[in-house]
């Protein structure tokens, strides 16, 4: 198993949980570092509350919305960039700026333009866009020129060229970009919610937990975000793998 594969071995996870437990026991204060069991118990208690589940749905839908917008725009802009070099040149500084500006700066700026309610959609969109755009450009350029020439000689329809010559090359690059940007989306979206504090969101709960020094709640919410992020990432990759079947038959 290569380290890049990102797959977690149970023994490695157990080791780090043990380190966490040992740290918590050494500090002896749930305020500074609650134990893993304490956090799990708190997460279970939060999960039983309808308001927490609503917060999860609300945050997840906004982050997923921002991600889907970024995916659509990223692929569309990449197609334009591959078609017209000028479009790529025009977009290049914008993508560089978006990639370089810290999430917090964007969030504070964006609060001036949009309501806190829609903030995480915009921030997620902005953070995911450059990753998806770059992945889509790499994928579109990965199409085999020899196969594209074959398509021209045999007069394949534009739809067939797209489905059988372009998309199979695009897919692996887009899948990788989706996996990376999905994790990034949750990080950026949650950060935006913590700063913008939209009512009824996971970010608002985390902000409240910080204000009231409720460390166990803060850990539980963070754990919920991590789990949701992983589930979304796996879900996106699985959907993309299902999509791959589209290219397996004429």
């Amino acid at each position: 198993m290569s380290p890049e594969s990102g797959r977690v071995r149970w023994w490695a996870a157990a080791f780090w949980l043990a380190v966490w437990q040992a740290g918590s026991m050494a500090l002896g204060s749930a305020l500074l570092l609650p134990s893993p069991l304490h956090v799990l118990a708190r997460l279970a208690a939060l999960g039983a509350a309808a308001s927490f589940r609503r917060a999860v749905v609300l945050s997840a839908s906004r982050i997923a919305g921002g991600f889907l917008l970024a995916l659509t725009a990223g692929v569309g802009l990449a197609a334009l960039s591959c078609r017209w070099r000028r479009a790529e040149e025009l977009l290049s500084p914008a993508m560089l700026a978006i990639r370089s500006v810290p999430v917090a700066s964007f969030t504070i700026l964006a609060l001036l333009w949009v309501s806190a309610r829609n903030l995480s959609v915009l921030i997620t969109f902005l953070m995911a866009l450059p990753v998806l755009y770059a992945g889509a450009i790499r994928g579109l350029r990965a199409a085999d020129p020899a196969l594209l020439e074959m398509g021209r000689v045999f007069r394949l329809s534009p739809l067939r060229r797209l489905r059988f010559l372009r998309l199979p090359a695009l897919w692996p690059h887009l899948s990788a970009a989706c996996a990376v940007s999905m994790g990034l989306s949750w990080k950026a979206g949650t950060a935006a919610e913590i700063i913008g504090i939209p009512a009824g969101s996971l970010g608002e709960r985390m902000q409240q937990a910080k204000v009231y020094l409720d460390t166990a709640d803060l850990f539980a919410c963070t754990l919920a975000v991590v789990v949701l992020s992983l589930c979304f990432e796996r879900g996106a990759v699985r959907l993309l793998r299902l999509g791959e079947r589209l290219f397996r038959g004429v």
């Binding site: 020899a146 045999f154 059988f164 199979p168 290219f247």
Partner: protein, 203 residues
């Protein structure tokens, strides 16, 4: 479409100052097989690419190709790696059914490989699929760039027989190094080009 000869007149092409094709003249008789034999580096593939519309000539003209449907066997197989052999055939021949594709593959001993992943096929098998793709696609003019390269004697004979059976009186230009191959294809005309001369001489 009425049959019309393809006339190539004073075709020139150079890459980076190096002349690849110089004042090439030829007439491809409509409905006949023409073979082009020339040494490596002569510009055979460049000529075919110009006829396919993939490369623009520096000067010269080609008449008789406008509106004609082309089909080709490239020097490389150029098969879609994500499709099975049968689906590779169906990709370029929209009217071909799955059964038809399997039957076509069967004529070259590939029926049992029809739905296999392309990566499971040997180089020779993939070559046969590429040949069949060119033969099953709808076309008026067939361009073959060393189509039987890498095939053993028996398979080559089978592939040539299938080419002739499926040609049905259409125009073919085949590039080859092998005089026996030209003979087996029943070429009406063989254009042999020497190492030095860039112009074609008909024999």
């Amino acid at each position: 479409m009425s049959l019309e000869d393809i006339v190539i007149c004073r075709l020139c092409k150079s890459y980076g100052g190096k002349m690849v094709l110089e004042d090439f003249d030829a007439r491809l008789t409509a409905g006949a097989v023409t073979c082009l034999m020339a040494p490596s580096g002569w510009g055979k593939t460049t000529l075919l690419r110009i006829l396919m519309g993939l490369t623009e000539a520096d000067s010269g003209t080609v008449t008789g190709l406008a509106g004609r449907r082309l089909s080709a066997v490239f020097q490389e197989d150029r098969l879609c790696p994500c499709l099975s052999p049968a689906d590779n055939l169906r990709l370029t021949a929209p009217g071909l059914t799955a059964v038809g594709a399997r039957e076509a593959l069967g004529t070259m001993g590939l029926a049992q490989w029809a739905d296999a992943p392309l990566s499971h096929l040997s180089g020779g098998m993939r070559r046969r699929v590429a040949i069949l793709r060119a033969l099953t696609a709808p076309y008026d003019v067939l361009l073959l760039d060393e189509p039987y390269r890498g095939l053993d004697g028996e398979t080559k004979a089978l592939a040539i027989a299938e080419t002739l059976r499926r040609r049905e009186g259409r125009t073919v230009l085949a590039v080859t190094h092998d005089p026996e191959e030209a003979k087996a294809l029943g070429a009406a005309e063989t254009i042999v080009c020497g190492q030095r001369g860039r112009s074609a001489r008909d024999f």
